[in-house]
Amino acid sequence: MSRFGYYPGCALHGSSNDFEASVRACMKTLEVELGELNDWICCGATAAHSINHTLSLALPGRNLGIAERDGFTDLLAPCPMCSMELIKTKNALTESAALRKEISDIVETPVTGATEVINLIQIFQRVGLDRIQAAVKKPLESISAACYYGCLLTRPPRTVAFDDPDQPRSMETVLAALGAKSVEWNYATECCGAGMTLSREETVLNLTNKIITNAKAHGANCLVVACPMCHVNLDMKQGAVEQAHGVKHDMPVYYLSDLVGLALGLSERELAVNRHFVRAGVHAAPKTVA
């Protein structure tokens, strides 16, 4: 049994609680113990780094301080926005003793930036794809996924230093271990515009429509994401996309942990897949969408 610090972030404790259910169920089956940070706070997201630079380091800094205090060397942050903010802060702290002092004083706990922050894909890599492959009970033969990385899993590349920012392969590798196929397509790292949901809705619907259309055109029967914001945009907003563009997509959107869980034999209910807006059933009932 391996143990990781766990930073759920607001989304996973809010309207993306289906993601949290999926991650937790998966980790339990893989015998990974998640130690949720005691009294974690919001990472500040885009708002903090837009409005107040110090705050954008202090909020993640507080959480890194908690992780250090509680002895976690590795910290899972499934939301890429949170993990990017945490890594950015970690990097800044590692580089500057003055900043370590300043942030430690602000957040009232010593913080050095020693904690390793990992995303959802990395935790599967840590568990070991061989091990996951060996534990697969229901190979996902009917899945032809378009793996959608969005923005923050691989960007900014100098900060997160994860996978190739333009032609990433890490999710595809996980899917291969599950017996699932993945398609070559063009929008794996395009922005879905999640940050604009409240201000430029037509832009968001436009970007989202392009992503789903391209995935379909390349033979995907579902999208796989590792980000709660991408999921909201592609799943919850899919109805609005269809309405705005006069199309019918009916494109299921899985979290990566959903597919790992399903392959390991967990039920849709255990993984909260049944709570997605677009019915996600392609893993069970093979059909070709092309």
């Binding site: 190739d164 920012p165 333009d166 032609q167 070559e184 063009n186 929008y187 391209n214 055109a217």
Partner: protein
């Protein structure tokens, strides 16, 4: 008391601005052993040198200290002056009060004090200098040229025409290099092969040129005038003396799946193949990784059809050695790899351009083949994926160049010109097509160059946009190119049928390993370093080794050819003498004192020290010792540092001289 003359130079304002030369002269005159000190505005000038010569004679000097610039600059000048006045040239020392003092300090007081100190050290050293004689080295008047692209061919022919033998080594199966694969050349649009192939034939047939193709340099020993070069002749599986180049073998070979590297992967070739139709020598080679006979023992068709019996499946690599006196390096360039495969961790490729993923995204050399009459499409512009004629082509400049994040920070220099050329070649063949060019700056310095680019824009209608491309995707058979037009201040999206990437020029694979064998310096990218960027552009810091062409830095054909002739000229200057002289500041072993531990033998980077025996007159072994081969020693001093018994020393740079300098500090 020694009679030392000190000559302090102003170097115009260079030294005098920061160093109070007058005061320094007064202080230096007080140093014991200094007969006099004198200052002058330009000591290296003719009146300056005359003064040095006159003073040597008038004051019967036993040594000189010239306090001026770096000895790299003028040591030769002043040694010659000393010699002319009858003083042994190795009794001259220089105190570098320019680079080491005036150029790097602001404070006049401190700089003056430092200049006096530097001169004091040099005086300490020169007092202990002993007269030395230059070492004479015999000279092998035969040159090695490495690489047979256009630069190597030019250098070889020049040297051969001057009457000297040339050993020309090329690692590919044919000579010709990159230029042999180009279509037409800027700024005249003359056909590349038409101008190169006659030179290739001339090279292949020249009585003074010994050609080794499909061969690589294993090692280089010796030094200027007398290099021993070991060459690996790779197994070709063809008996070159029997083969007639008739073509039966490659016509009948059933294996046709290997990507043709002469067409940069745009076509396939046989397992036994001729590099290209105009190859010199016009002899095939067997690709051992593709040949069924060599891999499994089955097949053997080529041997059956060869009437000359020239196929030899048992062929092995062969090692040969050649003696030469000078070496010209002309190893050329390769393109930066745009895809994900990289041989250097500094480079990341451009995942965003989809090279390797989308077949119709190609690089500039591939486009050369597409537009070449000898290329895979016979010179018709047809895109690789489906052979369709592209109606819209996007050309992207600066891919890998001027990009410190993913590629190299330098400008590759030729891309602006060949991109303009590509748009012309395209428009001349596909009249209704549109050529779009994305560039950052147009760098077209050169005779008739800017006019050429303007012609592409004004006459041939190429659309130029100032801005980089961010991403290329594929939708419905079109390449979607997302870019910016920074002059209009808008993002631009173009639906293209084909994209051509002007990839950066890098030194060819293995250039740095070769440079290490030749002890030639190279920069962070692996381009070989010239000895002086203005005054010694084709020399290197390794005596007798010259460079030309793109191994030195990005350059176009005219420049590479000019430089090749320059390098050949330097070789001829060297070969105009009958022997070489070398500075005698080399190591010497006190053989009586040597404990024969051979630490020096093991550490000498030039293999210049050997084990030797000292015998008495009856031939009885008295003792073992280390002994320096003066022909090989470069005077680096490593042996002095490692010798535990202090038996090694350097003439003209002895340990006691260095102690004296330190004492004088």
């Amino acid at each position: 008391m020694a009679r030392i003359g000190v000559f302090i130079c102003w170097c115009g304002e260079n030294i005098a601005r920061t160093v109070d030369v007058k005061r320094a002269t007064e202080e230096v005159e007080q140093i014991p052993g200094v007969r006099f000190a004198i200052d002058y505005k330009y000591m290296c000038s003719d009146p300056g040198q005359t003064m040095v010569r006159d003073k040597i004679i008038a004051e019967r000097l036993q040594g000189l200290v010239i306090a001026s610039c770096s000895p790299h600059m003028h040591m030769k000048t002043f040694r010659a002056a000393a010699k002319a006045a009858g003083l042994n040239p190795y009794l001259v020392e220089m105190a570098n009060i320019r680079e080491h003092c005036s150029w790097v300090h602001q404070n006049r007081e401190e700089a003056t004090a430092k200049a006096v100190e530097l001169i004091r050290l040099a005086v300490g050293k020169v007092i202990q200098d002993k007269p030395l004689d230059a070492i004479k080295v015999p000279l092998t008047k035969r040159a090695l040229v490495i690489g047979a692209g256009v630069a190597g061919i030019q250098a070889s022919l020049d040297i051969a025409e001057a009457g000297h033998e040339v050993v020309l080594v090329e690692r590919e199966p044919s000579i010709g290099g990159k230029m042999a694969g180009l279509s037409e050349t800027f700024p005249t649009l003359d056909c590349s092969q038409c101008i190169l192939t006659p030179r290739m034939v001339e090279t292949g047939q020249h009585p003074n040129i010994k050609l080794y193709t499909w061969s690589e340099i294993e090692s280089v020993d010796g030094s200027v005038g007398n290099f021993t070069v070991t060459i690996r002749k790779k197994a070709r599986y063809i008996d070159m003396s029997k083969c007639t180049g008739c073509g039966e073998c490659w016509n009948k070979c059933p294996m046709s799946k290997t990507l043709n590297d002469f067409d940069y992967g745009l076509s396939k070739r046989k397992a036994i193949y001729l590099a290209f139709p105009q190859a010199v020598p016009a002899r095939p080679v067997i690709d051992k990784n593709a040949c069924t006979k060599l891999k499994t023992g089955k097949c053997g068709i080529c041997a059956k059809v060869c009437a000359a019996g020239a196929i030899n499946y048992e062929d092995q690599d062969e090692i040969v050695t050649e003696q030469v006196g000078a070496i010209v390096v002309a190893t050329g360039y390769k393109l930066y790899s745009i895809g994900q495969e990289q041989d250097n961790e500094k480079y990341t490729g451009y995942g965003e351009y989809g090279y390797g993923k989308y077949p119709d995204v190609i690089d500039a050399l591939q486009f050369e083949r597409l537009s070449s009459a000898s290329g895979p499409t016979g010179g018709e512009i047809r895109r690789p994926s489906d052979g369709a004629v592209p109606k819209s082509v996007v050309f992207i400049a600066c891919v890998g160049s001027r990009d410190p994040a993913k590629g190299v920070s330098y400008c590759s220099k030729i891309c602006c010109m060949y991109t303009a050329k590509h748009t012309m070649l395209y428009k001349h063949k596909v009249h209704e097509g549109t050529a779009h060019v994305f560039y950052m700056d147009i760098r077209a310095g050169g005779k008739n160059y800017d006019e050429f680019v303007r012609r592409a824009i004004e006459k041939d209608g190429a659309k130029y946009y100032r801005g980089r491309v961010s991403k290329i995707t594929e939708e419905n058979g079109k390449l979607i190119v997302r870019a910016a037009d920074t002059l209009a201040g808008v993002p631009v999206t173009i639906e293209a049928d084909m994209v051509v990437l002007a990839s950066a020029m890098l030194p060819s694979t293995g250039a740095t390993e070769l440079a290490q064998k030749l002890k030639v310096g190279y920069d962070e990218y692996g381009f070989l370093s010239e000895s002086h960027p203005k005054l010694r552009p084709v020399e290197t810091n390794s005596a007798g080794v010259f460079i030309c062409g793109a191994c030195h830095g990005p350059k176009d054909i005219p420049e590479a050819v000019a430089q090749a002739s320059a390098a050949a000229g330097k070789v001829q200057v060297m070969f105009a003498r009958n022997e070489l002289t070398r500075d005698p500041e080399i190591a010497k072993i006190n053989e009586q004192n040597c404990a024969a531990c051979y630490a020096c033998v093991r550490t000498c980077p030039y293999n210049a020290i050997e084990k030797a025996e000292i015998r008495d007159r009856q031939g009885n072994l008295v003792k073992m010792t280390a002994r320096v081969n003066p022909g090989l020693c470069m005077g680096c001093g490593t042996c002095v540092a490692v010798c535990p018994s202090k038996s090694a020393d350097i003439d003209g740079f002895s340990e006691s001289q260095i102690y004296e300098m330190i004492k004088n500090l």
